[in-house]
Symmetry: C2
Subunit: 304 residues, 2 copies
């Protein structure tokens, strides 16, 4: 007799987050190294309790393709994704960019350590990500050409044709009239590119074929955009005590967002349509994609 075990996303996320947090703690050198200040600053931002969405997506994709036995070897890649995400937050928060004082409920890096160290902590996390990705002692059992493909995928997504490109258009369009095309560009690049890369990295490491890779990329594209629309909505309606960010900060700096262009209601509809498309992209996969499906639903319902 086969017993149907119901899947609980909350438990799944908790277990994955624990594994990721432990790995981050292990892979990022501590302040017993010299100079302590830079390690303190990097750890302050990296270990301050993010949702770890990108690493979770990477590991869930690995599982979706039946390669969870590789999880130990893929954890360094998952951690590198989180390091790159954290570096981008530290630099985004700088006075010359978004000038934010508060992130994840605590003072931003430049508020805690000064602007010079915040810039260097961001640089350090970005560089450390590539140290990890190229560390063959950690990525046991992954063929080197596959590792290289993953490094290229992640570097391209983090670079000027991806996340940095999105950030440039974002910072330079504050207070300007921005059309729908630019808004899509910003969201699909600033947030979307690294979300897609997190999924593709997991797929490449699992040895996915081109068809599976295309379907998973489409899933990633849809949830990436959806994630950012939900973020925009939370910035209008969210509660600082749960989001850790100031509500209305986008509007006060004249930032173009989905709610400012389409209103909250239509933005929510768009997010729901994207969730449907994300689930549809997974229709050819078996039940091992359940975590990815649940994650799509989770992202749209998130409150933080």
């Amino acid at each position: 007799m086969k017993t149907e075990v119901s899947f609980c996303l909350e438990d799944y996320l908790k277990i994955k987050k624990q594994a990721i947090d432990a790995a981050l703690e292990q892979y990022l050198p501590g302040p017993e190294n010299y100079p302590p200040l830079i390690f303190q600053a990097m750890r302050y931002s990296l270990l301050s309790g993010g949702k770890r969405i990108r690493p979770v997506l990477c590991l869930a994709t690995l599982e979706a393709l039946g390669a969870e036995s590789l999880q130990e070897s893929v954890l360094p890649v998952a951690c590198a994704l989180e390091m790159i995400h954290t570096y981008s937050l530290i630099h985004d928060d700088l006075p010359a960019m978004d000038d934010d004082d508060c992130r994840r409920g605590i003072p931003t890096s430049h508020k805690a350590f000064g602007e010079d160290i915040a810039i260097l902590a961001g640089d350090g996390l970005l560089t450390e990500a590539f140290c990890l990705l190229s560390n063959r002692k950690l990525l046991v059992g992954i063929p080197p050409e596959r590792t290289l493909a993953v490094i290229h995928e992640i570097a391209m997504a983090a670079g000027c044709f991806g996340m940095i490109g999105g950030q440039v258009v974002d910072v330079r369009s504050e207070g300007m009239t921005v059309d729908e095309t630019s808004l899509y560009y910003i969201h699909t690049h600033k947030t979307g590119a690294m979300i897609v890369a997190s999924i593709r990295a997991g797929a490449l490491l699992a040895g996915a074929g081109s068809e599976a890779l295309a379907a998973l990329s489409l899933y990633g594209h849809n949830i990436g955009l959806m994630f950012q629309i939900v973020d925009d909505i939370l910035n209008v309606e969210g509660d600082k005590s749960t989001t850790g960010k100031s509500t209305g900060s986008d509007a006060s700096r004249g930032k173009i967002t989905f709610p400012s262009l389409f209103g909250v209601e239509m933005s929510r509809e768009k997010a729901c349509a994207l969730a449907e498309q994300a689930l549809h992209a997974l229709s050819g996969f078996d039940r091992r994609t359940e975590p990815l499906r649940m994650l799509a639903r989770h992202i749209i319902e998130r409150k933080t």
Copy 2:
């Protein structure tokens, strides 16, 4: 009859610099891409005529080991080294760091493009370096595990145990009493680490054995420290019209340097001793190391 051809470093450097500049121009995307501003900013700093010491060292090491036939495939690595160097200069010049207005005789990135874009142009160059390093279409004929070793080498040298570590100690010791140990730490990390990595990258790509690698690393360590001592001396005695930097800027911001700790004369003696040690490290190699030997002499005599 065998004809002895005398080696001219000036011609050698000119030819290498041309190859490197052409490759940089080719590998760094142009402002026909979107968003143009970031590509303009990256190219502004990268293509403004540096000496290309790091890429030259990488290529000269390749030649020293008889592997110059690989030059085309190694040029992307050489370019990545220069991109990382340029990113570090852009971030070093920022108001929160050294606050310099002038670099290589032209306004610094933040003066030309604003602080936000300067930060992002630095981030972009660092990331682009890893795109290049992991691009298998360009690194033709290099075994993937060798490429991974080079990426790891460069990432470690650019990170918190290398260049960034040196920069942290440097920015946080301005105006303070710094001892000789800290001064050595700053110079061997802030400048030295990437110079050593440039040489080791060339050696690894040429397939050097551990003995050759150790000797070349020692050469690199010596010329790296020597390079920075000469830089310090030029900051005291140099001519802005040739160095492109403000003379005396280190002293005016209370920065600890070799001349401030030992005086110009003893600093020069230390640099000469390091040059001797660098040449000694190469004593087991044949005449194909002539460019590396000449480079050591060149660095100590440089005026810019």
